[in-house]
């Protein structure tokens, strides 16, 4: 069973660039995604909000497959900044998994 990771949760809560609280799980983002990504963004964002780091990290390829084209954002009825949220997740992986960041 997946467990919440408090460090991950605290890090993502502190990240001003991540905000998915307005997401109401309507699924428009998934329906319009040109990549056909089924987990992004709503399911993935839910894992972030409840701190299930391992589920997020299982989806690294998906996170880096996002085109950042904002088709989802353009159609989002809740005005969630989806592309910036995805970019923030990439930043987390870059720092904590790939060790790419220098600070």
């Amino acid at each position: 069973m997946a467990r919440a990771n408090s460090t991950f949760l605290d890090t993502m809560r502190a990240a001003e660039s991540f905000n998915a609280s307005a997401c109401m799980n309507c699924g428009v983002c998934t329906a319009v995604c040109p990549m056909g990504i089924d987990i992004l963004p709503r399911q993935l964002f839910r894992y972030v909000i409840i701190g299930i780091e391992e589920k997020v990290l299982e989806k690294q390829e998906t996170i880096f497959s996002c085109l950042m084209c904002k088709m989802c954002e353009q159609n989002c009825p809740a005005d969630v900044k989806i592309a910036e949220n995805v970019r923030t997740l990439r930043g987390y992986i870059n720092r904590h998994v790939y060790r790419l960041s220098r600070n």
């Binding site: 990549m35 880096f64 084209c69 904002k70 353009q74 997740l89 930043g91």
Partner: protein, 331 residues
Amino acid sequence: MTLPTKHVLGILVDNLMKRKSVFKLSSRKATRWAKGLNIQRGGRTVIYTGHMYQLIPSISALASRMSYFEDSWITSFFGLGRFANKFINLAPLMARSDSAEVEYYNNILRNIAQLLQAASVDFGYLYEDEMYSGALVHDEGVDDAFIRHAHRVFELFKRNGVSSVITVDPHTTNMLRSVYPKYIEGYKLQVRSYLEVLAESNVEPGPVFRDLDVTIHDSCVYARYEDIVNEPRELLRKAGATISEPEYTGKLTHCCGGPIESFFPGKAQTIAENRIEQLAATGGHIVAMCPICLVNLKHAARNKNIEIKDISEYLVEAYSGESKPVERAVS
């Protein structure tokens, strides 16, 4: 096994920090397009290429090579490649750009400069001092490297007394206009795409297109990030072209797949093929306005006898007074 994102991204970040670009170009390659155009060095207003069009032939050659590596045993050695790349710039050794492609993309920049000259816009160029904007590293979320690079670019503008920049592609426009201000205190720079500058100018077309039907592929970044949708249409319509809109267009444009080309070439190709089908269904001449869209769509269409042109190729025929023989253009 797909290309290892960690190492591919690591190489791009190392290059940006050490060589000031994700893919280092020689000064000669970066500035050759401007030869003979008599563009002054520096000035308060400058054209800023961000090396995007100049990089395409090299990236295209490298991406082609990488697509062979995708799913091969060679991906296991990317970590070693990243280590070696810290000392030797490996990219030019891995793939050689095609000289005809280099000339083609340089010509697009020449078109743009000639269009600005035809519109009597007073602008200079920073020549070999110009740098890549860091867009790819920003989009991949490596903020510390990106911020350091953004400061270098802004210092370049300050050092040269630049207050206004005319950009030639959507990604550099977005970085300089909307992203840099988030990270640089006191950032002050007027940033406009050449399409906006031309649309605002009083430039009039010379030869007017008759019987030219174009299908516009909007760039996601121009349309959704920067709200540049009407300007290309106004310029083409004023020149006499008829515009056909594909199924997904304007603010609802469909991505070309290019943003993930470096990491997932196979997926990028599939997206581009889908987009080509949508565009070709209109029957018009396909027009792109972003170097990444242009190269991706061209690659996806290469076996389908479908031609894709940069918007500047049509605009220069209509507005710059150049008397090149043009398809379907009559005076």
